[in-house]
């Protein structure tokens, strides 16, 4: 176990980033033109970073698996994006945003990174507005805001229930602008399979052209992964079905440490699973909890229609348990509280695994029109999926896998443990600790992409001016491509009887049951065994058809599922190692009398970063101690 150097700059918290920026080395415009950067992923972080780097004068090559960068899953973020603008004059500040995130993350995030995220948040809103993002406005024409969970100010900017779509399209438009100027080259329909490391530095990637099936090699002076999270290890989640952590995992196998893999956010309000065929779960934005009240019937097995249950027979359990924050508790707390009620037999719906989110009072107080303008698109989405009208009866919701706080370990410069390899957005681990607060993923992705990576990457590239990018004929590229082809051939030649989709569903069940909202030692050990068994079966019984030299979607899925097995094991192992509860990581052995997460700060106030040691070897744990110099570490309370 070695200690990791996070390279956090010296000085007072609010001066760190300012001073650090001044100390970062620059690359001259003439030299930028000679330098290539590979960007994998085109969500909010990737598109923003690619556009910024292109504008600065670098040659940027951008890759995504979809047919257009606009389809990245940032598009599905609903509720909003935070900034400490203090537009409502409710005494908001960078420090308060920082503090809310540190507390919300249950004191497992890195102070300096979080403060910086808060610091750049205001610029993001200015940037997006200038790009023509149609944020919601007040009648006076200024930008509107709303509240989100775990927060007592109104700092969340939004565009109806489609903020992610609009923020992504903003960065997409900036990307398109750079493509039209020729600074960025776009490569769509590519699946990254290997990271190429040469002389200890990240120097390129190998990817599969999803149309022709051909292997392609690309070299550069630096590689950035903006490839999102790995929440699809649960199979059913709010993620896009093709999202996976496979690209980050490929980097892990080449030496990038993987941090806090057990920190996965379960979002409290999703449309419950309706049937066994379901291929994904749909989020109902946390913003709904601004006006919606969560409840279950006070008596078990109450089969009356929700509208027939009188007020005094309803248990508004969040308001009861957390009077200070009420329905706006952080996500991990809201999710566990719903599970607690359902496990105790008070759940509603056909399966008994759902709770109500009711807008009756809000509609009465504010009128249907106001509620429509705030949440219209979400109400429509709910109605399309369930056939029920939330204007007339409460929504039914239940928690589902949503966001991975864990990801590739990065230092303050967002560089992984492989020199020249960076990770931004959800793909890294640094800003959300053990639980992410709502509306902070668009904020972190945008901040990393527009204002942080473009500065920090120059510091590294300034040392690479004399090193030309390697030829793609170099032996490291040759070997990486060979590895990728061997992996594909291995899968194609199994000729078994079970499809990749089936395996993925089975994996998801194991992970949800043993590595989901609640974990314990026995379950985690059992989960590890079961995942290993299932993986063995996968390599004996996978069935694929078609060929490798054309579009083959089941093969694409099989490659992702293969990585998901390994990420799942890493996740369970991390959860087993972290013998405490914190944020979204809830070990039933460690809880307070009221059932809240009980941390063990003496032993686990650290980031766990795992190093790959070979396919059949246990990964090695490294730790980064966390220090809190600017906040008082305490038991989180939202009461």
């Amino acid at each position: 176990m070695t200690a990791l150097n996070s390279k956090i700059p010296e000085g007072p918290l609010s001066e760190k980033w300012k001073n650090h920026k001044n100390s970062l080395k620059l690359v001259s415009p003439a030299n930028k033109k000679k330098m290539d950067i590979i960007m994998v992923g085109t969500g909010v972080a990737g598109a923003a970073a690619a556009a910024s780097l292109g504008q600065m004068g670098y040659n940027v090559k951008v890759f995504c698996y979809q047919d257009s960068p606009r389809r990245a899953h940032s598009v599905a973020a609903q509720g909003g994006i935070n900034a400490a603008k203090n537009y409502r004059n409710d005494n908001d500040s960078d420090y308060r945003l920082f503090y809310d995130m540190i507390k919300g993350g249950d004191f497992r995030a890195r102070e300096a990174n979080v403060y910086r995220a808060a610091e750049v948040s205001n610029n993001i809103i200015d940037q997006l507005t200038a790009q023509g993002v149609p944020f919601a406005r007040e009648y006076g024409g200024t930008l509107a805001t709303r509240s989100f969970g775990g927060v007592q100010v109104s700092r969340t900017f939004y565009a109806s229930g489609q903020t992610g779509q609009q923020v992504l399209l903003g960065s997409y438009s900036a990307l398109k602008r750079q493509i039209s100027k020729g600074t960025v080259t776009m490569y769509e329909r590519r699946q990254m399979l290997e990271l190429v490391v040469k002389d200890g530095k990240a120097r390129g990637i190998v990817c599969r052209n999803l149309v022709t099936g051909e292997m392609e090699r690309y070299s550069a002076h630096a590689v950035v992964l903006a490839t999102g999270g790995y929440g699809t290890i649960y199979f059913l989640s709010t993620l896009a079905v093709n999202s996976s952590g496979a690209a980050a995992y490929a980097a892990y196998k080449k030496g990038a440490f993987f941090a806090n893999p057990s920190f996965i956010q379960i979002h409290p309000s999703c449309i419950p699973q309706l049937n066994e065929y379901q291929s994904k779960l749909t989020l109902m934005s946390e913003s709904l909890r601004n006006d919606g009240r969560v409840w279950v019937p006070k008596s078990k097995d109450d089969n009356r229609k929700p509208t027939d249950i009188p007020e005094e027979e309803r248990d508004y359990y969040l308001e009861r348990r957390y009077p200070a924050f009420g329905n706006l508790v952080p996500r991990d707390i809201g999710a566990r509280a719903a599970k607690e009620r359902c496990d105790a037999g008070y759940g509603v719906g056909e399966t008994g695994y759902a709770v109500y989110l009711d807008f009756k009072d809000a509609i009465k107080e504010q009128g249907k029109k106001t509620i429509h303008s705030k949440y219209g698109s979400l109400f429509d989405l709910y109605k399309k999926i369930t056939g029920e009208d939330p204007y007339k009866q409460p929504m039914k919701i239940y928690p589902a896998g949503h966001y991975t706080m864990g990801g590739l370990w990065v230092d303050y410069n967002l560089m992984t443990t492989i020199p020249g390899l960076y990770a931004i957005g959800e793909a890294n681990f640094s800003d959300h600790g053990a639980n992410r607060l709502g509306a902070s993923s668009l904020m972190q992705g945008s901040g990393d992409g527009y204002f942080i990576l473009p500065y920090t990457i120059g510091d590294y590239l300034s040392g690479e001016i004399k090193n030309p990018k390697p030829s793609t004929d170099a032996k490291e590229f040759e070997e990486a491509e060979k590895e990728a082809i061997e992996r594909i051939n291995r899968l194609m030649n199994i000729n078994g009887n079970t499809t990749a989709l089936d395996f993925h569903k089975k994996l998801g069940k194991i992970m949800w049951n043993y590595g989901g909202m609640e974990r314990n030692e026995e379950g985690l050990k059992k989960g590890l065994e079961m995942v290993t068994e299932l993986e063995e079966q996968f390599y004996k019984d996978l069935k694929l058809t078609g060929t490798t030299d054309s579009m083959n979607q089941p093969l694409e899925r099989a490659l992702r599922v293969a990585a998901s097995f390994e990420i799942s094991r890493l996740m369970l192992r991390d959860a087993l190692n972290r013998n405490e509860s914190c944020g979204a990581h809830f070990r039933t052995e460690h809880q307070t009398e009221d059932g809240e997460a009980l941390r063990n700060d003496d032993k686990y106030m650290y980031v766990s970063a795992w190093e790959y040691k070979g396919d059949n070897q246990e990964p090695e744990l490294h730790i980064e101690e966390l220090k809190y110099d600017h906040v008082k570490v305490q038991q989180r309370s939202y009461k």
Partner: protein, 253 residues
Amino acid sequence: MDLTIKVWRQNNPHDQGRFETYQLSAASQDMTFLEMLDALNEQLIHEDKDPIAFEHDCREGICGSCAMMINGRPHGPEQEVTSCQLNMKAFKENDVIVVEPWRAQSFPVIKDLVVDRSAFEKIMEAGGFVDVDVSAVPDANTYPVGKDIAEESFDAAECIGCGACVAACKNSSAMLFVAAKVSQYALLPQGKKEGLTRAWNMVSKMDELGFGSCTNTGSCEAECPKGISLAHIARLNREFLKAGFHNLAAEKR
């Protein structure tokens, strides 16, 4: 439920393509349309056949990946849904369902139901952005935008770029797609400064890429999964005319 699915199968852009007919009994009214296709694909894989290629990702109607003609209509018979949101409750026992890729010259078929929509990307590159650098911007509240104007701009910005408007149009015109972008920006002070070039450049690119002209039949609006209004085409026409007069005047000078 038992279904007969007739699907367009085409191995690659050069293949002539053909309809294949499949019987599916593993379907249920609880499925979405794409889950039904998943089930059909599982069946095909077990029969050692190549599964049907189709695009999909978010499966909640926002990424714009899924794109198919279902019984002759883009995204199927329901109003304002994408294929991934289409519920199998829209169909009955023993129905015959015909599934085809988008039919438009500018969207060549790659495989089965997957078409190449990169023409949309080229149109966006011709002007689908506000010409502003990262960082060189004023405070977001510098230019007030009326609530109703912001909402109208948002309504246009809701476009998911799926291509249903092109597939629905008898002229394979991309006018609604272009109009949504032009209108979003034309309504906002931030986007006004390119008012004289954006519409002109995007429409010219659309013409160059082989999309047809608009004859105001309104089928795009009727089939748009996001309900984007034809009124935005009217605004595009105004913007285009303005740019036209401006260009004419510039030529005369």
